[in-house]
């Protein structure tokens, strides 16, 4: 492992060099069974409990293609505007690794199921077109855990444990063609692309796209060429980058690192690199030359895959509205600003807000509850917004109580608090906590009298021509009423009393 090179500031790097990128994204499909056998694919099961002779590659065992995985592959291909092969094959990619049971990976090589596509991403209001080289099917490998070393890597480990539960889970690898966008946008476009893919895959319901569980992994190829040059530089491949932010950081880092190497007369080595989330740098992995020889040949254990045109068209008809299109439509319908919409999306609240609005809640209110009270609670308790005990139904119910004057926003927040604490239905919580608004004028007037009596200085200010000072009296009344008063009503009664 080499020590991280000096880096050149990004502005300086981009003034001298144009970056060229290629992105390879691996997606684990959410099929119930594995790519070539019937084993379950649940994440987090005890090691080696989801295996059989086929996914363990035992002598004699044979693969059979999971038709559902082919269906997902076709959907992904169609959603990325690819051509779908009329006839394609699996190939064996021969290389040795202890967590790969057969010591070859059953993959697709020169005959992928989907190819020649394109998609678009938007960065700072600018649309960038990304050409898709191919999307092909393959199987995942097992997972090694290295024991005894300080770093958790194989160096220094006394032994390794292998879990084959993941071996054979269906993967789709989506490979872009060379991406040449203005250098200062390169990293942001990379991030936007992966983020767009995630949304797309979610909308297609073909993957859980959990980056933290490795079901979406990005390899970023980066090279630099001197400004104006036409030939590509030597590329590096940064493997398994595991978050959108890291994709952006890793691309930026490689640009600054390679620029530093090149500017001092050095040579970029063609190699794979590891991304370090904590330090934000990449380090040298395995040297990867063009001579690497996987000895691909058509997988003789499998018959070719030949999806009928009718099937492809049936699948095309089931494709959902592309997420970017849908998002633009919803933003317009809801009247949100770009910034508001970005908060909704980044907060993973889009689908929840859609469902809440469908139940009759105004968009602004739906956004307010989900991004406010509920997001805060989810964040504090370390859970997902979508897995809280409060769903769109509860939000709609609470909002209805606000609309009919039973609750104000402050009380509504307390109802949510009760809901999240499992104190029962909104009605039960209002009852138990005594939360309903006081609508009785006489009680309010009594409180107003008390406030006036207790704050003669404020009354004097108001009387001396400063009506704005009355706000302090409203506050006092609300406090007296323990918040259970309609502030507008209080203001109206107070104004009448003071003759404003």
């Amino acid at each position: 492992m080499t020590i991280a090179a000096e880096v050149m500031p990004i502005d300086k790097a981009l003034a001298q060099y144009d970056p060229v990128m290629g992105l390879e994204v691996h997606v684990e499909l959410n099929t119930k069974s594995k790519m070539f056998c019937g084993c379950p694919t649940e994440f987090g099961a005890a090691p080696n409990t989801q295996t059989c002779p086929v996914c363990l590659g035992l002598p004699g065992a044979l693969p059979v293609v999971n038709a559902r995985a082919v269906e997902s592959a076709i959907k992904i291909g169609l959603a990325l505007n690819c051509e779908i092969a009329e006839w394609c094959r699996f190939a064996r990619k021969n290389y040795f690794y202890p967590d790969m049971p057969k010591n070859f990976q059953t993959s697709q090589y020169d005959e992928p199921i989907a190819f020649n596509g394109w998609t678009e991403v938007v960065v700072d209001g600018e649309t960038y077109r990304i050409e898709i080289e191919r999307a092909h099917m393959e199987e995942d490998t097992g997972k090694s855990t290295h024991i005894g070393g300080a770093t958790g890597r194989i160096h220094g480990a006394s032994h390794s444990l292998v879990d084959y539960n993941r071996a054979g889970i269906p993967l789709i690898e989506i490979v872009t063609k060379t991406i040449e966008v203005p250098g200062e946008k390169a990293a942001a476009v990379a991030r936007a692309y992966v983020s767009m893919l995630r949304d797309l895959l979610l909308a297609l319901d073909v993957s859980d796209v959990r980056m933290d569980q490795g079901s979406l992994r990005c390899d970023a190829n980066v090279s630099l060429k001197p400004r104006g040059a036409t030939t590509f530089g030597t590329r590096t491949e940064t493997k398994n980058v595991n978050s959108f932010r890291s994709v952006e950081r890793a691309v930026t880092y490689e640009i600054t690192r390679q620029a530093a190497v090149l500017s001092t007369g050095g040579k970029v080595i063609q190699e794979t690199r590891h991304w370090h989330e904590d330090t934000g740098i990449t380090t040298s992995g395995r040297e990867k030359s063009d001579a690497e020889d996987y000895r691909y040949f058509p997988e003789p254990d499998l018959v070719p895959v030949a999806p009928s045109r009718e099937w492809v068209e049936e699948l095309r008809a089931t494709l959902p509205e592309p997420p970017s299109v849908r998002r633009a439509r919803l933003q317009q319908e809801w009247g949100f600003t770009d910034l508001e919409m970005r908060d909704v999306v980044n907060g993973n609240a889009l689908e929840l807000i859609v469902s809440t609005i469908e139940l009759g809640v105004p968009p602004s209110a739906a956004k307010k509850w989900w991004l406010g009270e509920l997001a805060r609670y989810a964040n504090e308790s370390g859970t997902e917004l979508g897995s809280l005990d409060v769903g769109p139904g509860e939000v709609a119910e609470v909002q209805k109580l606000v609309d009919d004057g039973t609750l104000n926003d402050k009380l509504a927040r307390q109802v949510f608090e009760g809901l999240l604490a499992g104190e029962g239905t909104p009605a039960e919580i209002i009852e138990k906590r005594g939360l309903a608004l006081v609508s009785d004028d006489s009680a309010l007037l009594e409180a107003i009298d008390r406030a006036i009596a207790a704050n003669p200085d404020v009354v004097e200010k108001v009387n001396s021509g400063k009506p704005a000072a009355a706000g302090a009296l409203i506050g006092a009344v609300m406090k007296d009423m323990r918040g259970q008063a309609d502030a507008a009503k209080v203001r109206q009664l107070l104004n009448e009393k003071l003759g404003i």
Partner: protein
Amino acid sequence: MSDLTRKTAAELAELMTSGQASSVEITQAHLDRIDAVDGAVHAFLHVDAEGALAQAKAVDDRRAAGEQLSPLAGVPLALKDVLTQEGVPTTAGSKILEGWKPPYDATVVKRLKDAGIVILGKTNMDEFAMGSSTENSAYGTTHNPWDLGRIPGGSGGGSSAAISAYEAPLAIGTDTGGSIRQPGAFTGTVGVKPTYGGTSRYGLIALASSLDTPGPCARTTLDAALLHEVIAGHDPMDSTSINQPVPAVVEAARNGDVAGLRIGVVKELGGEGYQPGVEARFHEAVELLTKLGAEVVEVSCPHFQYALPAYYLILPSEASSNLAKFDAMRYGLRVGDDGTNSAETVTSLTREAGFGAEVKRRIILGTHALSSGYYDAYYGQAQKVRTLIARDFTKAYEQVDVLVSPATPTTAFAIGDRIDDPIAMYKNDLCTIPSNLAGNAAASFPCGLADEDGLPVGFHVMAPVMRDDLLYKVGAALESALAEQWGGVLMTKAPELEVTR
């Protein structure tokens, strides 16, 4: 009751149905025979006496309970050691799998068990089915019961020797380039390579995936057909398995009427390099079939001359990939795991110790043939030849129903004769390989003894994909015609083996 071992499978089934013998008695008779002669023959790598007797008892009990059983229920069988059998040692003739007990049954094995067939044990073979003599087994050579100084053929020498030594009435072989048919020819027995995809490869330890085909070995055509019917048919666990009804092989074996059948003699499979005694018996057999009403014509398959080189590129290529899994990590042999060596070193040491010379030779050949820069010149070219050979067959079948040739250019050779000359060894499969490359059905039937050495000669029949029934039709016709001359099947001419124990 030693004569139980002289019965055919069909006869044994009849004895059980009529209550004259039990499966336990029949199984015990064969176990006794193995005990008596296998020291000299070495057909078996593992005899599962306990398991076999338990299976036999279970069949007897079911029969006693009046249960309707399948035709071969209770008949014993010898299983080539390349098919997985749950809990029973399976080695593929290699040291690298010594002691491995598979956790699952091959589909063929499952079907045998479901049919109540009693599995006596696992038979010897060339390591990973690489070889034409069974001299490449890591566990010693099998001897040809006709002449113990000779090889029984390969790679399924153990299976064919077991049935010709009367250690079992039936056996299962696998045929990648002739490994059922060539040993069949050398031991005077019937060996059938079904249509590729007609029998399941699930649980068959792969040599070359696009060629491997499990099939039946027996002493008579009918027995082979009865066994064929048990093991054939679509298997959802094998995606190359053909989803069509099994051809009516038993009916064809019982009927054996070749009147009007058009038979093509392949011009390219004969002449120079063929032993005169082999050619003589072959031509007599063709004569016989003509007398029985078959029409015989000469047919040319010009690309067959390239079959051997194409085969010896495709097979090692696939094998080099299939054998990559033997890495000492999960099962079988492990050498050098003393805490100081890396996983890579343990793998290397294990492979060095666990693979034999022929296996290493083919892995290197295949690795080279698939490597970048050579793929097109070797593997790619071989696949084109394969297509041309398949076209030769298609064209030939436009003129005739079946094709015939000698099964092998020579009779069984002496042990050690060709072991140092791989090319001479490979040439033994000249006649059988084209059918594997094209995936069609083929079989070897006994057609007499060569004058020079008194050893069996095999008559090779090839039929279109999923027309396995035609093989049995020809085989049955030939068998009954020759039985008239010999007073029984050819096996009755075999010398008695000396009982060693």
